[in-house]
Every structure is written in C-alpha cells, then in structure tokens.
C-alpha cells in the first residue's frame, strides 16, 4: 500500500512522525481525507477529530484548530492543543465548550468574537456527533 510521510505535531510535543497511508482532517471548509498522491493543499483546521492510518491501525486525536499542509515532501499537521480522542470525555468537552463560550463573551473586537463563536459552534457540533 502506498504511503506518505506524515508529521503530526503540537506545540508541546511531536505526536507522530513516520509513514502513514491515510489522513483525515476537519478542514476549515469541510472534512477531507488525504491519501498518497493528493493534490498539494494547505488548510486551516476546525476544532474536531484528526485521524490517521499507519501500519494498519487508525489513531484518532481531538484538536482545537491548527493547520494541515500537504506538499511533495509529505503532510504536516500543526495542531493547536491536542489530545487522544480516548482521553476526551463529555466532561472535558463541556469544559472546552465553556471556555469557548467565555472567550466569545470576553472578546472585545468583532473578529475575535466571531472566531470564538465559530469555535463554540464547532465544539457543539462535535459534541452532538460524539454522543451515542
């Protein structure tokens, strides 16, 4: 199976570095999947779930925004705050939603407020999707 180099990093650590065969990200304009030979793309990320497949196993992570860059040298995911999806429970998600809500309430100028509200919306969507 064809693979591509993937570098998945957050400010605190390197989460994954190696060959992957697929990558699924929540792009700013919709989720998309990257397979080997994908068109070079750069996208901002929404808050959501990033998953990648490497060596037959699929790992899933919750990210709070960031960027993905897919070029001839492989893919890089720059995640802003990141945790394994298994660690994300309803309580933590509620906390994130609360923080986003506070951000939205505190934001002084229009752009920041819009961004915070957007994230709030994304998080609520994620919560709805994750709930059984």
């Amino acid at each position: 199976m064809a693979t591509f180099p993937l570098e998945f990093v957050s400010p605190d650590r390197r989460i994954f570095s190696g060959m992957a065969d697929s990558l699924h990200v929540p792009g700013a304009e919709g989720d998309f999947e990257v397979l080997p030979g994908h068109q070079p793309t750069m996208s901002a990320l929404r808050a959501g779930v990033v998953s990648y497949g490497a060596g037959g196993t699929v790992s899933r992570f919750y990210v709070r925004g960031g960027f993905v860059d897919f070029g001839p040298l492989g893919a890089s995911v720059l995640a802003e705050r990141c945790m394994p999806l298994a660690d994300l429970d309803a309580a933590k998600l509620d906390q994130e939603i609360k923080a986003a809500g506070e951000d939205a309430a505190d934001a002084s100028d229009g752009t920041a407020k819009r961004a915070a509200e957007e994230r709030l919306g994304q998080l609520e969507g994620l919560k709805a999707a994750l709930e059984p």
């Binding site: 990093v9 400010p11 700013a28 793309t41 750069m42 996208s43 070029g71 720059l78 802003e80 705050r81």
Partner: protein, 294 residues
C-alpha cells in the same frame, strides 16, 4: 586575629552554605532535565511552522499582498523589546546577560533617534533594566506562578503583542532570550518577531519547482491565522529555551559556589588548626619556663 571560637563558627557557617548550594545544584540538575525535554519537544512544531510560513510568505510576497505582520507596516520608528528573563537569581550571569544585550540594543536604537518600549517577561530583567530604562518599561509580565510553561500560559503575551501591533503602538518587535546550547553555554539571543523574520530560501529550495497548492479557505485567511500564532510560538519557544538555560546557568553557578565554599572551609580549617597548635605551643612554653624558674 579571630579567636578559635570565631573560626569554628565561620567554618560551620561556610559548611552550611555549601550544603545549601549543593542541594540547589542538584535540584537545578533535575529541573534542567525536564526543562530541556520540554524545549526539545517544542522544536518540531516550531520547525514545521517555520517551513510552512516560509512557503506561504514566498507565495504572498510574489503576489504583493503580504500582511503587515509579515512584511512590516513600512515604518521603523517605535521598537518594542520583549525581554524574557528568569524569575529568580542565583544563576550566575544568566539574567544580566540577557538584560545587557537588551540594554545595548535599546541604547543604540535611542542613539539612532528611535523610540524604545520594553515589555519584560520575568521579574529579574525588569529589576535590572529599571535602573537605566525605567521610563521605557511598559509592563512586567510575572511568570512566577508558572512552574512549567505551557502554550496556554504564553498565549496572552502573544495576543497582547499582536494587538499592540494592530493598534500601531510599535513598528518592530524584537525578542530577547537565552538560547540553550548546553549546561555551560547559554547564548543571549535577539530575534525579530514582528515583522516575521522569515528566511528567504536561497539555493536548492528556491530552484525547486514552485508547488501549486490549493488553499482552504484562502491564502490570506491562512496567513492571517498563522502569523499571530507564529508570534506566540516564538515567545513560547523563548520561554522554554529560557527555562532550560536558567537551570543550566543555575546548575553551573551553584557548582562553582559549592566548590568555592569547599575551598573556603579548607582554608579556614587550616587556619583554625594552626591557631590551635600555636596556642598549645604557647601554653607549653609557659609551663616549661615556669618550671625552669623555680
């Protein structure tokens, strides 16, 4: 001439100090390891971000629509110096080396007729700079409560710098911190973060075929998100490198102090023994000459 009792007290106090410095050295060594791991863990992200930014910046510059955070706002009158130092002393020349670099820069900028503003991250740098540049210090950001800095801890600093730039409160921002080379080498470093110091890629990378990328949402929107994050990331990296440098500097300073205390204790012990021996000799002479006189 100190008495025997004085000397005994002095030896005891030097030895007590030595125990403290020895303990501090070991604590610093343990904390250094953690700080170093944290600094190294942040490097891949910073490198990736630089690569992505360099890519985007090249494309934006070619399109002639680089945002001010990247290309500058065209002025060069007001300089913001972001001085990151430690919160504690007892670490050799660590804090003063960073402060000196910042002060030299501030002086040369002033000599060139520019306005200088200083934002201190860490109390120690402010203490040193207050003497000469007290009027220029805008604020001191206290990081004492933060044990091991996380990205979230420095986000407010990055946001503040970006906001100030947005309001036109400064034109160029330079970050001062100490790069961690090894336990014995911490290099005070100045790094321009606004406008972003993106290295123009020469040679191999420039010759490579320009990659046509698809941008989502669009190039400008991505840059607008990426640049403020880059500022925060640079501050974060500076804080982490500083943390590692601080403990490295403290470790070697405390190692020196322990050794000096050892030498001092040895010197005093020698003097104590000599004085003691001299007194015994003196007493013996007195007894003998007393017996002879009878």
């Amino acid at each position: 001439m100190p008495s025997l009792k004085d000397l005994r007290n002095r030896i005891a106090s030097v030895k007590a100090t030595q125990k403290i410095t020895k303990a501090m050295q070991m604590v610093a060594a343990a904390k250094l390891r953690r700080a170093q791991t944290a600094a190294e863990a942040a490097r891949p992200y910073a490198q990736r971000m630089e690569a992505v930014l360099a890519d985007l910046a090249g494309a934006a510059a070619a399109g002639g629509q680089a945002p001010p955070l990247l290309a500058g706002n065209g002025r060069d009158g007001v300089h913001l110096l972001l001085v990151c130092t430690g919160e504690r002393g007892l670490c050799g020349a660590f804090n003063s080396a960073i402060a000196r670099l910042a002060r030299e820069r501030a002086n040369s900028l002033k000599a060139a007729g520019k306005t200088v503003r200083i934002l201190c991250v860490g109390r120690k740098g402010a203490d040193i700079l207050r003497r000469t540049h007290g009027a220029d210090i805008l604020d001191v950001i206290d990081m004492r409560a933060v044990k091991s800095p996380t990205f979230a801890d420095v986000e407010p600093i990055g946001r503040r710098v970006v906001e100030m730039f947005g309001k036109g409160e400064f034109d160029v921002c330079t970050l001062f911190y100490s790069r961690f080379g090894s336990v014995i080498s911490q290099v005070p470093t100045a790094l321009r973060i606004v406008p972003a110091a993106v290295e123009a890629k020469e040679g191999a990378a420039a010759k490579a075929e320009p990659v046509v990328r698809e941008y989502e949402p669009d190039q400008g929107a991505i840059l607008a998100q990426l640049l403020p994050r880059n500022v925060t990331m640079q501050v974060y990296r500076a804080v982490l490198e500083n943390g590692a440098s601080f403990f490295g500097a403290q470790m070697s300073a405390m190692d020196n102090a322990t050794r000096n205390a050892g030498e001092m204790a040895k010197k005093y012990t020698l003097r104590y023994n000599r004085t003691r021996q001299a007194m015994i000799t003196k007493e013996l002479i007195e007894i003998i000459s007393g017996a002879e006189a009878l």
